[in-house]
Amino acid sequence: MKAAFQHMLFGLLCLNSVNLQAVEKITIHLDFIPDIEAGKTTFSVCARCHLPEAWGNTDGTYPQLAGQHVNVLMKQLLDIRNGTRQSALMYPFVQERTIGGYQQLSNVVAYISTLPMNPAHARGPWPPGTREYRQGEKAYKQFCASCHGDNGQGNNELVYPRLQGQHFRYMSKQLDRIKSGQRTVHPAMQAVVQELDLEQLEHAANYASYFAVPEEDMAASRTWRNPDFQ
C-alpha cells in the first residue's frame, strides 16, 4: 500500500515536471493612456515621504525620481510590488490593494515624469581633474556607457535608468547592494558589478554624478517648490 502510494507520488511528480517543461512563458503587452491628473492624486501619497518635488536626498536615502524614464519607474514599482526589489517600507504602498492596478501605476509614473529635476543634485567627492574622476571615467566608458549612455541619459525604450541628476550616494549605495546580493537586477548589470571592485564602482558612480543635466529638464532654482502641493 505504502509502496503503491510512493509510486503514485513519483508518477505525479514526474508528470508535474514534464508539464512544467512544456509550459512556455506568455508575455502580454498592454497599453495604458495615463491620466496625469489622477496621477497627481496618487502622488500625494508618495510625496509624504518622497516630498512633492521627488528630488531625493543628497545622503542617498531617497533617489531623485524627477526626470527618470517612465519605463524605469514602472519597472521599479513592479519589482518592489512582487518582491524582486526588496524595499520593506515601499512594499505595502505599491500593492494593488493600496495604489491600484496598472492604470494607477501608469498615472503616477506619468505625473512624476512631468516634474522638473533638482538643479543641485549631490555630486561625488572627486571633481573633474582628479585621479579618481579619471578612473571613474575609464570604468564608466568601458563598462557602463553602452547601456546607460555616454552622458548617462539611459534609454526609456530599453528600460535603462537615466543616471543624469541622480545623487552620488544613492548610486554608490545601490551598487554596494547589488554587489553584496541585497539587490537583484538585470543579469547584464549584475555581471558588470561583479566585474568591478568596490572602489571602481565608487569612482564610476562619482563620474556619473558629474553628468550635466540638460537645462530644460531642471527647475529654475533649488528653492522651487511643486505648486501642486503647496
Binding site: T41, S44, V45, A47, R48, C49, L51, P52, N57, D59, G60, T61, Q86, A88, L89, M90, Y91, P92, F93, T98, Q182, F229
Partner: protein, 457 residues
C-alpha cells in the same frame, strides 16, 4: 520594590553568615556589605535564580564579534537587522524582557478599532529568524563595562559592542508626584499608554466603557515620546465617544503653550469634528494630582475628572544609570554620547540610540528606525577601523484624525546641525495637514512597511 527585596535578602544573608561564623559579635562583621559578601563566599547558598545570574547565558558560541543590543523596540529591532546587513560576520544578540512585540505606533488606530491587535503584534522569534540574529528573552540587570559584560535574568553575556536602546521611563516628579507609592498608584489607575502594552489595553477598555462625564488627557512638556500622539489620541478618544453617543467631555490639558506639531490640522480637527467633545487647554502645567479626590490641579485651576489618562513627562531609561553612563544633570538623564557617532564618550564600544539618545530628535518609531540604520553602519565601520559620514534621521509621522473611514495627516522632517549654536535643528519639513482617506490608508501602509522591515523578509 527592587530595593526592599535586596535589603531583605542581605539581611537574611547577614544572619546566616553570622551564625555560620559562630559569632554574633558586631566587631567581627562590621557592615552588612561584608557579611553579605562572606555569605556568598562561604556557606549560604543563594537561591537558584541568583546563581543563574552568575553563569553565562545559554547562547550558541559567538562566531564573530558579538554585538549585544539591549531593547527590542523600534531602534533595537532595526539595529539588530542592519548590523547583520552591514557586517554579516557580527554575532548579534537582541535582548528584551517582553515576550512579544506590540506596536505603539498605530496603536491609537487600534484604540478606535481601525486595525486589530494582530496588526500591531509581532514575534521577536520571527524577527531574529528573518534577519539572522539571536533573540534572548531576558531582563537586563546590570553591566560591567570594564569586563564588557551585561548581566541578565538568564545569565551574563560577554560583548564586543553593546547598543543600549532601552527607551524611556515616566518621570512623575515633573508633574509634582514625588512619592514612589503615589507614582505607582497613579500609574495603575491612570496609565499613560507610552511604555507598556498593558497600559494600552487598559486605555482601550476605559474608552469603550466610559459612562460619560469628564475624561482628562494631557500633553506632557519636554521631549516626550511621539510628539503628535497625545493630540491624535484625543481625536481617537473623541471619535469613540461620538460613535458611542455618550455625553462626555475630554479636557486636553496641554502643558505646552500651544499644539506642538501639526498645529493647523489638530486645531481644525478639535473645532470642526470634535467641538462637542474636546476642550483644548494650553499652558496647563500640571502641579498636583489627587487620586482620592479625582482632581488635577494646574497653576490656574483645579479640574475634577471621572476618568483620565495621565502621560507624565519622560526621561531616559534608568538602565543608562545602571550602566554608569547617565548624566543626571540633563533634563532626561541621558548619556554623554558623541552626537554624530552615538558612542559613549570614552567608550567606543557602547552606543546609545532610540528614545534614550541624548540628541533632541523626535522620539518616535520612524526616527528610531532610520537612525538605527545609520548607527549600525557606524558600528560596522568602526569594527573595520573606518568611519561613516553622518546622515540625518528622518521623522515620518502620521496622525489619525477621524475614523470609519480612517483619515490621517502626516509630516516628514529631517535634521541638521547648526554649527553656530552647536545644536541640532529641523531641516526640510513637509507637512500634509489636510487629513483624508488616502492619508489614513498611507498611515497603515507605513506601519505595515515598518513591521515588514523589522520582522519579515
Amino acid at each position: 520594590m527592587g530595593n526592599s527585596d535586596n535589603n531583605g535578602l542581605s539581611r537574611r544573608s547577614f544572619l546566616k553568615a553570622g551564625m555560620a561564623l559562630g559569632t554574633l559579635s558586631a566587631a567581627a562583621v562590621s557592615s552588612q556589605a561584608v557579611a553579605a559578601q562572606a555569605s556568598l563566599e562561604s556557606t549560604a547558598k543563594p537561591p537558584p535564580a541568583i546563581r543563574k545570574l552568575l553563569n553565562e547565558a545559554t547562547l550558541p558560541r559567538a562566531t564573530g564579534a558579538r554585538v549585544v543590543v539591549i531593547g527590542g523596540g523600534w531602534s533595537g529591532l532595526a539595529m539588530a537587522k542592519y548590523l547583520k546587513i552591514h557586517n554579516p560576520a557580527f554575532d548579534v544578540v537582541l535582548v528584551d524582557r517582553r515576550p512579544e512585540f506590540i506596536s505603539f505606533p498605530a496603536s491609537n488606530c487600534w484604540l478606535a478599532d481601525q486595525v486589530n491587535l494582530d496588526f500591531l503584534t509581532h514575534s521577536y522569534i520571527d524577527a531574529a529568524k528573518s534577519h539572522d540574529y539571536l533573540f534572548l528573552n531576558a531582563t537586563v540587570l546590570g553591566f560591567d563595562r570594564e569586563l564588557k559584560k551585561v548581566f541578565t535574568s538568564n545569565g551574563f553575556i560577554n560583548y564586543d559592542y553593546m547598543v543600549l536602546a532601552p527607551g524611556i521611563e515616566y518621570d512623575y516628579r515633573r508633574i509634582g508626584v514625588d512619592d514612589p507609592v503615589a507614582q505607582m498608584q497613579l500609574y495603575n489607575n491612570y496609565p499613560g499608554g507610552f511604555v507598556n502594552s498593558s497600559e494600552l489595553i487598559t486605555i482601550k477598555r476605559k474608552l469603550h466603557t466610559f459612562k460619560g462625564g469628564t475624561f482628562i488627557l494631557n500633553v506632557p512638556n519636554g521631549e516626550y515620546r511621539c510628539t503628535a500622539a497625545p493630540y491624535e489620541r484625543a481625536c481617537m478618544a473623541a471619535a469613540i465617544f461620538k460613535k458611542r453617543r455618550i455625553k462626555a467631555r475630554i479636557l486636553l490639558l496641554d502643558m505646552n503653550a500651544d499644539i506642538r506639531i501639526k498645529k493647523q490640522g489638530f486645531a481644525k480637527a478639535f473645532s470642526s469634528l470634535y467641538a462637542d467633545y474636546i476642550n483644548y487647554l494650553p499652558s496647563s502645567e500640571i502641579s498636583r494630582i489627587d487620586i482620592d479626590e479625582k482632581t488635577v490641579s494646574t497653576d490656574f485651576d483645579d479640574y475634577a475628572f471621572d476618568d483620565a489618562i495621565i502621560y507624565p513627562p519622560v526621561r531616559a531609561s534608568s538602565l543608562l544609570e545602571d550602566a554608569g553612563i547617565a548624566n543626571m544633570k540633563t533634563a532626561q538623564k541621558t548619556a554623554n554620547t558623541d552626537p554624530y557617532k552615538y558612542h559613549v564618550i570614552g567608550d567606543e564600544y557602547v552606543y546609545v540610540t532610540g528614545d534614550s539618545r541624548s540628541q533632541p530628535f523626535s522620539k518616535g518609531g520612524h526616527t528610531a528606525n532610520s537612525e538605527a540604520q545609520y548607527v549600525a553602519e557606524v558600528i560596522a565601520a568602526h569594527a573595520l577601523g573606518k568611519e561613516v559620514r553622518w546622515r540625518s534621521p528622518q521623522t515620518m509621522c502620521f496622525s489619525a484624525v477621524d475614523i470609519n473611514p480612517l483619515q490621517a495627516m502626516s509630516i516628514i522632517t529631517f535634521y541638521k546641525f547648526n554649527k553656530q549654536t552647536k545644536k541640532f535643528e529641523f531641516d526640510r519639513t513637509h507637512m500634509m495637514e489636510d487629513w483624508n482617506v488616502e492619508g489614513g490608508q498611507a498611515s497603515l501602509a507605513w506601519a505595515e512597511g515598518m513591521y515588514r522591515d523589522m520582522f519579515y523578509r
